[in-house]
């Protein structure tokens, strides 16, 4: 299939990356999803960052995901942007105006104001498993005892004891995770405007923080303090500041057309 990146017909399906104030939209000289050039679509005081999509069936590739994020990051570096989730497509540029920007104008303006001067920091806190397992063994005499017993037995004979041991360790770890996660969340929350928690799984904490630019140093210092105090049992991974996608949500249900 041949696509013409220069001039797309007005009816082309339109991919939307995000929304900005019309006055602050930067030139974005990047390839977007499906390789199409990214451009602004201005409607009054709002502008959507869009690109046209070739017709027919689309297969999303890794590069499309990366391009979506890169476009948002580029916009975010210049001014406030309300990110759209990956994969948002409207039937034409007119539909971007009639079905998205117009009916959602108030909400979008409010979001732009709320996100102005803020970035998203994704924080993931994990245990050094060996250090924390050691704590668990040392803190619970029953675990230490079971450990001693099962080490002396072969696989068959020790099966049920090993199950007991494992269950007790898993429970102790879960408890430790919840406790540590809560404490760290509380400390970081103080420097953030908002937080979006994710299911931590086997991590201690997985969360996105919305942090005001003038608070970002405080936030970072708190991270440093936590890392210092908790070394070597905890490790903190921080990504950002990112376009605040985790905090860009429209009211569900109001959308109805």
């Amino acid at each position: 299939m041949t696509t013409s990146p220069t001039k797309a017909p007005a009816t082309a399906a339109t991919y939307v990356y995000g929304v900005m104030a019309a006055g602050s939209i930067p030139a974005i000289d990047l390839d977007g999803v499906a390789g199409a050039r990214v451009h602004p679509f201005v409607d009054g005081h709002l502008a959507a960052i869009v690109s046209s999509l070739p017709s027919g069936e689309l297969r999303m590739r890794r590069s499309d995901l990366v391009n979506h994020l890169r476009v948002l990051e580029h916009a975010f570096a210049e001014a406030t942007v309300v990110p759209c989730a990956f994969g948002m497509v409207l039937m034409s540029e007119e539909a971007v105006r009639d079905e998205f920007l117009e009916p959602r104008r108030e909400e979008l303006v409010a979001l732009l104001q709320r996100l102005d001067g803020h970035g998203q920091l994704n924080v993931r806190v994990t245990y050094d498993q060996d250090v924390v397992l050691q704590e668990v063994v040392e803190a619970d005499p029953m675990i230490a005892h079971l450990r001693e017993q099962t080490r002396a037995l072969d696989e068959e004979a020790g099966y049920s004891l090993r199950m007991q041991l494992g269950e007790r360790v898993a429970t102790a770890l879960q408890y430790a995770r919840e406790h540590d996660g809560e404490v760290i969340l509380e400390r970081l929350e103080k420097h953030a405007a908002d937080v979006a928690l994710e299911e931590p799984g086997e991590d201690v904490l997985k969360a996105s923080f919305l942090v005001a630019d003038q608070k970002s140093e405080d936030f970072d210092r708190e991270l440093e303090r936590i890392a210092e105090e908790q070394a070597p049992r905890l490790r903190l991974d921080v990504v950002g500041p990112l376009p605040p996608a985790a905090f860009a949500t429209l009211e569900q249900g109001a959308w109805d057309s």
Partner: protein
């Protein structure tokens, strides 16, 4: 509690301006941000498969056995006694010491550097 190494926060705090792995990219842009009518969204069949590897903790037999093994693998002599005594009461201490003896017997050579050498002596 007392820990072997303090400070050097740099090793324990990693910063990155932008996500690197595909899973991390997905976690930033998939289902985050504004979404309108689902039927106009590009189908992202296949992408779900990538995100599903997100580890789900299920209190299962496998998990228990894995933890039991991890605990048994631990080289408890590594950090010496300070932390242990801080944490455990007297009753616990004797049990822990017992476990430590077990650990010594099963120490595999080539474990972590100087600390394990010390414990072998």
């Amino acid at each position: 509690m007392a820990v072997a190494q303090r400070g050097t926060a740099n090793n324990y705090l990693q910063r990155a301006p932008s996500p690197s792995g595909l899973a991390d990219v997905l976690s930033v842009i998939l289902d985050k941000g504004i979404v309108i009518d689902a039927f106009v969204r590009i189908s992202v069949i296949g992408i779900e498969l990538i995100t599903i590897d997100a580890r789900i903790v299920i209190a299962s037999v496998d998990t228990y056995l894995r933890f039991a093994e991890a605990v048994n693998r631990l080289d408890l002599t590594e950090t010496g006694g300070a932390g242990i005594q801080d944490l455990a009461g007297d009753g616990a201490k004797s049990k822990t010491q017992g476990a430590l003896e077990g650990a010594k017997e099963k120490l595999t050579p080539g474990n972590k550097d100087k600390e394990s050498e010390k414990s072998k002596s």
